[in-house]
Point group: C2
Chain length 168, copies 2
Amino acid sequence: MNDDKALNPARAALSQYLKEKKMRRTPERFAILEKVFSTDAHFYVDALHESLEMEGYHVSLSTVYATVQLFLEAGLVRRHQFGNQPAQYERVLQGVTENHHHLVCTTCGRVRAVKDEEIAARISGLRYSTFRTEFFSLYVYGLCSRCQKRLRKERRKELEATEKKKPK
Amino acid sequence: MNDDKALNPARAALSQYLKEKKMRRTPERFAILEKVFSTDAHFYVDALHESLEMEGYHVSLSTVYATVQLFLEAGLVRRHQFGNQPAQYERVLQGVTENHHHLVCTTCGRVRAVKDEEIAARISGLRYSTFRTEFFSLYVYGLCSRCQKRLRKERRKELEATEKKKPK
DNA sequence: CTTAGTGCAAAACCTTTGCAGGTTG
DNA sequence: CAACCTGCAAAGGTTTTGCACTAAG
């Protein structure tokens, strides 16, 4: 998904949301939006802020927090939080229904996005009489390949150590 | 699920985990476990602490934090975090596979557990070549009935106000 | 020109840490 | 009796808030 294909509808959506809520269209809000939609990776608020500063665009950190919160309410981003890490956000492509979920490593905390239209469709189709479904987050927890390897190596070492102690 | 049916296997699991890791079986750890398994509702660390104090069992808050972290690593509880609320935990019944997911209200943050064996089985069955699945969390976000009602009422009021202003 | 939005600094909040003393194995 | 665990207080890191100033509608 290239940048403009994602960015333009997002700009339009933000514009309309602000108009509806009678909020102001400030340059800060659109600059932050542009940054958020410039890649499809998850991001942290303070990294987003640093990244803006880095390219010479100054906004205060509190404005970035406030704006991301606004995007969240406008449905332009989704929030994720794992373990005790700071919150991560992910842009929401306009007019595209949820089609992926996340694999989260229980050991190192790394998160990988996985596309799976079938399970996504099935979850999106869940209906409840007293609850109006909007979207979902599915986190599958387990061991990433890196941690599997690391653990295997550690176990092997431990085993060797034990065998040295009682060689019979 | 009555208390002892859940509690006894949990006690055994904790006992074995502590033995494996060569950690100590302190009365605090088992007292906290008992409290955690006394209901199947989600709980916050500080509410758990208060609840223990309330019944006259004194443990420091840091011990409760440390112990809940230990339970998490032992697979005795799962962690959930919504919005900017403090982390919530949920007991894990020993020998029972995941069979429910959560409905989270995007407006008020309330969480409701929903049993759905079919979707749970389907998700548990997901296999990846480089990732070893352990368990999952599915959050379905949307509007709870209470907030739907509240919003309807607010919209009605707003509409009436508008009509008064321009009665034609 | 009115009032929401921004920037800055300070506060708030949840969670972790350091250290002294007590308890488990 | 050595090491681990607990309690307490203090620190740490993220996110929010209060207030004065600026700018959008």
